[in-house]
Each structure stands twice: as C-alpha cells, then as structure tokens.
C-alpha cells in the first residue's frame, strides 16, 4: 500500500510542479531539494545508479520531527505505473524543476531575457 501512496504523491507533485505551485528549497546537499509543509517535508534527490547508466531519483518523506519515514526510488516505483519508464520520467522532471525553482534558474533567465530585450529595443 505504501508504494501506491508514494506513487500517488509523485503524480501529484508532478502536476503541481508543472503548474509552478511548489516552492522547492535548496538543502545541505547540492543534488537534494525539499518542499516543506507545516508538519512534514518531502525531499527529492538523485544518485548514480548501480546498474543503469541513468541516475536514480529518490523521493523521501520526513515527519514533523525531522525523521525520514519513507524513501523510494524510481526503480521501486516502476511497477505501479502502466507506461514503461514513467516513474523515471516523472521523478526526473520533478527533480529538474525543483532544482530550477530552488536555484532561481527560471527567474534569473527571465530577468536576463527582459534586460536583453530592453537593450535590443533601444537599437531598433
């Protein structure tokens, strides 16, 4: 049952990440990002796979006292989705979006584009 619930969390995280509704944060490690709620935290991380050339993506749930209560990788979750590679694709997308949000990549790129457009329009 836990695997199904984590699977449902991943699907919802992907949907909300697509809508830009989640405020991911940087953590103590460069490849780990977290999303805090009033009484629990979700973390997404990646690590080199022991068998595949691609990285493994891991989702962890941390309770109100900071203790990790569950952790699953895309490999653990692959059996619950119908499409092959769905778990990997979703978790990779969440990780990349979380990184983008936490590091402010998107916001910074938007500012750079605006600044360049402003400069460009000056010459027209």
């Amino acid at each position: 049952m836990t695997i199904q619930k984590i699977g449902a969390i991943v699907v919802n995280l992907k949907k909300l990440t697509e809508k830009g509704k989640l405020e991911w944060e940087k953590t103590e490690k460069a490849d780990v990002f977290q999303l805090a709620f009033p009484n629990f935290t979700i973390r997404i991380s990646k690590r080199p796979s022991e068998v595949e050339p691609e990285d493994d993506y891991i989702i962890s749930v941390i309770d109100s006292e900071g203790v990790e209560i569950e952790s699953m990788s895309d490999v653990d979750l692959k059996s619950i989705y119908t499409l092959p590679g769905e778990a990997y694709r979703m978790m990779k997308y969440i990780w990349e979006s979380a990184r983008g949000y936490a590091l402010g990549v998107e916001q910074t790129l938007d500012i750079i584009i605006k600044e360049l457009e402003k400069k460009g329009s000056g010459f027209v």
């Binding site: 944060e25 940087k26 953590t27 103590e28 490690k29 780990v32 977290q34 805090a36 709620f37 009033p38 009484n39 629990f40 935290t41 973390r43 941390i62 109100s64 006292e65 900071g66 203790v67």
Partner: protein
C-alpha cells in the same frame, strides 16, 4: 400604589442594574484574563524562538571552530525547541509553520552528516555550505519572531 411600593420597585431596579454591571465586569475581566494568557504564551514563544535563533548562531560558530561533538547536542535540543514552538502556538500561520518544519528537516539532515563524519573521524566536507543553509533559515525565522512580538498586547 403607596410610597413603599415605589421604593420596592426602585430597589428591584437598582438590584437588577447592579447585577448587570457585575455580569459585564465579570465578562470584561474574563476577556482580559484570556488576552493576558494569550500574551503570556506569545511572550514565551517569542523568547523561545529568540533563543532558537541564538542557538543557530552558536551552531555556526561551533562549525567554524570544528567542535563536532559539542554541536551534535545543539542540533537535537534546537530541533526539540522548534517542535515545541510550532506545536504550542496556534497563532502561527501555515507559512511560519512551514519555515519551522523546513528548519527541523535541514537540522536533522545536517546532524546526520556530522554524525557520519564523526564516525569516520573526519570533518564534514562542505562546512561553509552548512553555515550558508543555517544563515538562510535564520533570515526566514526573524520575520516569525517579529510577527509574534507584534501580536503581544493586541
């Protein structure tokens, strides 16, 4: 009606008026007591949060000094006080609770890193990064402290 009847009615009215005034005063006193109780809780929470922020500064100093065994105790006591602050204060909004939860999770992860490096008898790899994360959380906690302080007496 004779004079004594008028006096009886007047006496009854005065008694009712006295009762009403007493009831209003009791209600006012109860309201003030509740407000005082709330204020005392907020003063306590503000003081606890202020101590927690001071403890984070101390942790950063201990990191810089490489006091890895001493700092381990600080992480757990800080986490415990943050948990209590969050659980005991219904005035805190969800945003403030999220910041506290985020800090608790980060402290727990940092504690894990330091614990593992202590076992290997080595310092953690990226100490400036650890302090950077703690500083960022401190910046986020200051507005919560101000919010609690501003609610006192209101």
């Amino acid at each position: 009606m004779i004079l004594t009847d008028y006096l009886s009615i007047a006496g009854l009215l005065l008694t009712l008026l006295g009762f009403t005034v007493t009831i209003l005063n009791v209600r006012k006193a109860r309201r003030l007591t509740e407000q005082l109780r709330g204020d005392l809780k907020r003063i306590d929470a503000a003081s606890e949060l202020s101590s927690a922020i001071a403890c984070m500064t101390e942790i950063k100093t201990l990191h810089r000094m490489g006091q890895w065994f001493i700092v381990l105790d600080r992480y757990s006591s800080l986490r415990k006080s943050l948990i209590l602050i969050r659980e005991n204060n219904h005035d805190l909004n969800d945003e403030s609770k999220k910041i506290i939860q985020s800090t608790i999770s980060l402290l727990s992860a940092i504690e894990d890193i330091v614990e593992k490096s202590n076992n290997k008898k080595e310092p953690p790899e990226d100490v400036p990064k650890l302090n950077q994360i703690i500083s960022k959380q401190m910046d986020k906690m200051h507005p919560i402290l101000l919010e609690l302080q501003n609610k006192i007496g209101r």
